[in-house]
């Protein structure tokens, strides 16, 4: 099936999860997501979990998220 990640089409096995698609998209991005410096959203801007199931044609957006630091 084809999944779009940041506008790039990734062809991957059917039944792939979000984590599978990200690993195929970019190992660097995958590492950043694992470390929490980037997060994954669907095409409408909602956060999706890494074990989220995908359908043909789904779109994912991976982007850096600024986290609010707790006040000292």
């Amino acid at each position: 099936m084809n999944i779009k990640v940041n506008g790039k089409i990734i062809e991957i096995f059917s039944g792939a999860r979000v984590a599978d698609v990200l690993r195929k998209y970019s190992t660097i991005t995958w590492t950043q997501v694992q470390k929490g410096s980037k997060m994954v959203f669907d095409g409408c801007g909602h956060e999706v979990a890494l074990d989220g199931e995908l359908s043909e044609g789904a779109a994912l957006v991976v982007k850096r998220v600024l986290r609010k630091e707790p006040r000292p």
């Binding site: 099936m1 062809e11 991957i12 096995f13 059917s14 039944g15 792939a16 999860r17 979000v18 984590a19 599978d20 698609v21 690993r23 195929k24 190992t27 995958w30 669907d42 095409g43 409408c44 909602h46 956060e47 999706v48 979990a49 074990d51 989220g52 199931e53 995908l54 359908s55 043909e56 044609g57 789904a58």
Partner: protein
């Protein structure tokens, strides 16, 4: 609100007749102003720990005397070995959902993971109805499954709900192994949904409880503006606040029991005049139901986890023996020609003679799915070439063939020799059903024309089934199927 105050009316067999009747019937008068709260969760995948918090939130709202419901949008099973390996499988979920006072559930594709007999047992013992309009089950199978129902509040507000499960375009089946849904018939969910538009008439609130994924829920909302709200699952999407599409509220609560969804509907003059949905972050919630907390603690001490599932005549030691065992499991259980296992995914050096479930999940803890890819011999060489290049040493254990990577003195690959199990060269010019983990399928860079397909179970589950089948363990003494010539620095532990 007590369960006795709620009346659920099943519409399964008499649906067309009832729909015709409802179309003519006048809507019963509704109270002047009613507020309905629907808590919902989805894709819990065996993560039961937060159910004590869920119970406290729902009970607190119920104690307030309002009209409070609890919905589940599917996929309770698979994802936590301690729960998945319970005997019978998934039993803790059934006990906890009953105890939580769940009002209605729609099955997800992972509800079938333990087989149809197990799900039939689950539905028979559930104290809540299961809704799915696009599943047809023969008599005696999934006894409480029905397409839709109407919940009635104590004030007479009628809430019509119908359920839907996702199907794959290719197979027309939910995303699970076809063997697990044999005997059931599935129809395309969006087409099936259109048959339920008439539920709008005769009911004050009209809801879809779906396991379709957010993208498909959006399409449903576009095509079915008669709906007040869609409470969904499958894509593990955290929708906070719930999104309005074509006037339909779409809610989904992420996954793994990290959030509890809360949809609030205000009914005035017989129709929904206000609707909103938010997520409660369970990490931030402190209060827990002590009784449910104690039940969860007991479930987490699953004695089955210590169960010995196989006894071998000698300890299996080293990546060649363990990798051969793991790939034999994948190949045998799924009827494949060849299977590969990356050495980085073999997380033990040794399995002692008495192998427990816990050992299996320590050896293979990642929850990777088995993926089948049709590959030529040349494509198999491409996979081995990529794996060898990761560290200039053997990286893939194998079943169904053996191979030798011949290298130059600088470790550049000169040749990859593939041999069938009888020692002859592997025939070229045909395709092989090759099994790999989802990790290898997605992170190794190798040419293959067939994108492949997940087979609906994990590599660990294949290993458990293989070990329980009592294979001949003697073949693993001194076994080696992957060679490097000249030998490399890999210590082959």
């Amino acid at each position: 609100m007590s369960r006795a105050q709620r009346q659920a009316i099943g519409l399964s067999l008499l649906l067309p007749l009832l729909l015709a009747g409802l179309a003519c019937a006048s809507l019963p008068p509704a109270p002047a102003d009613t507020r309905i709260i629907i808590f919902h969760f989805n894709d819990v995948h065996g993560k039961i720990d937060n159910f004590a918090k869920v119970a406290s939130i729902v009970e607190r709202e119920r104690r307030g005397g309002g009209d409070v419901y609890l919905f589940c949008a599917g996929d309770n099973f698979t994802g936590n070995p301690v729960i998945d390996q319970y005997q019978p499988p998934g039993e803790p979920m059934l006990v906890l959902l009953n105890r939580l006072g769940l009002d209605v559930m729609t099955p997800g594709n992972h509800e079938f993971d333990f087989g149809l007999d197990n799900l039939t047992r689950f539905t028979a013992q559930a104290r809540f109805p299961m809704l799915s309009a696009n599943i047809r089950a023969p008599r005696g199978v999934l006894p409480k499954l029905q397409p839709s129902l109407v919940l009635k509040t104590k004030d007479g507000v009628r809430i019509a709900v119908f359920g839907l499960i996702q199907t794959e375009a290719e197979s027309g089946l939910p995303s699970t192994h076809p063997d697990r849904v044999r005997g059931l018939r599935f129809s395309e969910p969006l087409q099936e949904a259109m048959k339920f538009r008439k539920l709008r008439k005769g009911n004050h609130v009209f809801l879809a409880l779906t396991h379709l994924g957010f993208d498909i829920d959006r399409v449903l909302a576009e095509r079915m503006p008669q709906l007040d709200a869609i409470i969904g699952g499958h894509s593990h999407t955290r929708i906070d606040p719930a999104e309005m599409v074509n006037g339909v509220l779409i809610a989904q609560a992420g996954s793994d029991n990290r959030f509890l969804g809360r949809v609030e509907l205000r009914i005035r003059g017989g129709r929904v005049v206000e609707k909103k949905g938010t997520l409660i972050d369970l990490k931030e919630w402190r209060e827990e139901d002590p009784e449910i907390k104690a039940m969860i603690a007991r479930f987490n001490q699953n004695p089955a986890f210590e169960r010995v599932i196989a006894e071998t005549p000698f300890a299996l030691e080293g990546k060649d023996a363990l990798g051969s065992l793991m790939t034999d499991a994948m190949r045998t259980i799924h009827g494949l020609d060849v299977a590969f296992q990356n050495e980085g995914g073999i997380r033990l050096r040794r399995l002692d003679e008495k192998i427990t479930l816990k050992d299996v999940y320590t050896l293979d803890p990642f929850g990777n799915q088995v993926v089948e890819i049709a590959m030529t011999a040349e494509e198999i060489r491409g996979l081995i070439r990529d794996s060898f290049g990761k560290g200039n040493e053997i990286d893939l254990q194998v079943s169904g063939l053996s191979y030798t990577v011949r290298t130059e003195s600088d470790l550049r690959i000169k040749e990859i020799d593939l041999r069938a199990p009888d020692g002859r060269p592997l025939p070229e010019g045909r395709t092989y059903k090759v099994g790999v983990s989802s990790y290898v399928a997605s992170s190794y860079n190798f040419p293959h024309r067939d994108p492949g397909r997940a087979l609906g179970s994990t590599t660990a589950e294949a290993l458990i089934r293989f070990l329980e089948s009592r294979p001949d363990f003697s073949i693993y003494r001194g076994i080696q199927r992957a060679f490097q010539d000249p030998p490399g620095r890999n210590d082959r532990y």
